[in-house]
Amino acid sequence: MSIYNLPIISQEEAGRRTHKLVLRAPELAGACAPGQFVHVLCGTYHDPLLRRPISVHNADVKEGTITLLYEVKGRGTALLAAKRPGEYANVFGPLGQGFKLPNTCGSPILLLGGGIGSAPLYFLARRISETVGCQTSTFMLGAQNCDSMVCREEFAALGPDIRLATDDGSLGCRGFVTELFAEYLASSESSTPPLVYACGPTPMLKAVALIANKHNLPCQVSLEAKMACGVGACMSCVVRVKDGGGEKYVRCCKEGPVFDAKEVVW
């Protein structure tokens, strides 16, 4: 884990209000795992003050680059989007606990992404394919509309079965990713239960977790929380989890952001 001033190789639009930022980062590229994030300094001179947590969308060890895929939400991400090749991005990481990869290819692998939450799933699918050697069985991606569906083609290159849902029906089915998930389970003929990985807005993750837990499926979710330090020092970012018979707060930036869906108090 270190602090880096990374040269920007490219910054391009990748959908509505969505940007793809490629950074030269040989050390980070080798160090980060899917589901981990970096803490990005977006402002200058206290505006905005805090860093912004952004997941690693891809790490290319050979090229020595990392890619961030992010949506412009407010001031921090708008300033990040204004940076150009030749400039630098100050980041530290890799941070947090990423997704646990499957050991073998026995079970179908389902990746569920909601909106910009699909960003880290790309890195996950690639790593599962490169290191474990299995293909993602089904991607289920949800977005508000066609324009905000991210990286459809990139995912398509990684797996044969892509199912899409949009709130307005402008692409794929009209509805939510969770409906695709429920349909999948209802119609699946596979006797081995799938491994489920999900990232997206909290209400979506909650709905996914409830379905997965009901069917007793292994399910990992990547959660979001308001973060200050990003390294586990300040206790800002807590998530409520089960603790024996009781409950406790743990740090999203340190014990997470990826949690077992059964552990989280939804």
Binding site: I3, H46, L49, S236, V238
Partner: protein, 310 residues
């Protein structure tokens, strides 16, 4: 190397430090979280997260909200309690050549004294900072820091429970900071530190909700610096024990300003979140300042701000 520099060596209330730059309670965990990033031995001291007798669960999220040049926090002093500090955190910290000050919190007078008693004689602790100023817990804490009688009682009973230097940490949420500093000195405090966070809140107009689950929180960061600087100056003028200054320090120049106002040492808090290396960088920057202005020792700038009338 800052570590070898005699010009920065500082002693406060019997606590020897390589330089006058400490990291503030609650912003640096127990050091471990940052040890991967920086050389924590370049810090003057590490002040731990507030530690209570028994574990505290903390407040529900959201616990923070960003504000212009600042942030509000309502962590609610989530911590694992004094036994975990002694059995897990301190043994790890003892490997390093850096002063450790434990920040102590309690809901009752007895609890403060009990934590102090429990820590007395535990190796690897140089002093106790008594948090009587946290705005985010319902009982104790700030109630002690905003009432002169209770401040005196808590400082007195902690003093009686330990041989370690005792440093009450003052709340800015009072009308007369000089009077509070004075009460601490009279009650036997070895030094005072200030300021803790200023109570505030934040509302999201779009959703018409408070941004913090706790509704109110403590404001920190560059936004509070002028208020903190004024309070440090007033407190330093009122007491003869050392004053440790903090509130919005993010660069060496900020730190020097606090020392000119009368602080013998400074603490860096929120700035660690933006740059984990802020502490060591500020220590080096103070050294540059001393060289530039031909000061022989950092203590020569303490209280050296000139009066405008002269």
């Amino acid at each position: 190397m800052v570590a070898e520099n005699n010009r920065l060596k500082t002693e406060i209330a019997g606590i020897s430090m390589k330089n006058p730059v400490m990291v503030a309670s609650g912003t640096f965990g127990f050091g471990r979280e940052y040890a991967d990033f920086i050389n924590i031995e370049e810090l003057g001291a590490i002040v731990t997260k507030g530690t209570s007798l028994l574990p505290w669960p903390g407040n529900p999220p959201d616990r923070i909200a960003e504000t212009p040049a600042g942030m509000l926090n309502a962590i609610g002093l989530q911590n694992d309690g004094v036994e975990s500090l002694i059995s897990e955190k301190l043994p790890w910290l003892r490997q390093f050549d850096v002063a450790v000050i434990v920040n102590v919190v309690g809901k009752t007078l007895d609890e403060y004294a009990e934590v102090a008693r429990r820590l007395d004689g535990v190796p690897g602790i140089c002093g106790l900072e008594i948090n009587i100023s946290c705005p985010n817990v319902k009982e104790g804490c700030i109630a002690f820091g905003t009432d002169a009688g209770m401040t005196a009682a808590v400082v007195g009973s902690v003093k009686a429970a330990t041989k370690l230097p005792v440093i009450p940490k003052l709340s800015p949420n009072v009308t007369d900071i000089a009077a509070m500093a004075h009460v601490c000195e009279d009650s036997g405090a070895d030094a005072v530190s200030l300021i803790n966070t200023l109570m505030g809140t934040s509302i999201d107009a779009e959703t018409r909700t408070f941004r913090l689950a706790n509704i109110t929180g403590g404001l920190s960061g560059p936004a509070i610096k002028p208020v903190a600087l004024r309070m440090v100056w007033q407190a330093a003028g009122a007491v003869s024990i050392p004053v440790i200054g903090m509130g919005g320090i993010s660069c060496a120049q900020d730190a020097v300003e606090f020392m000119l106002a009368g602080a013998s040492a400074v603490q860096v808090g929120t700035a660690n979140f933006i740059n984990p290396n802020a502490g060591p960088k500020i220590a080096r920057g103070i050294d540059d300042y001393l060289a530039r202005h031909n000061f022989e020792h950092v203590k020569d700038i303490v209280g050296a701000v000139k009066s405008n009338n002269l």
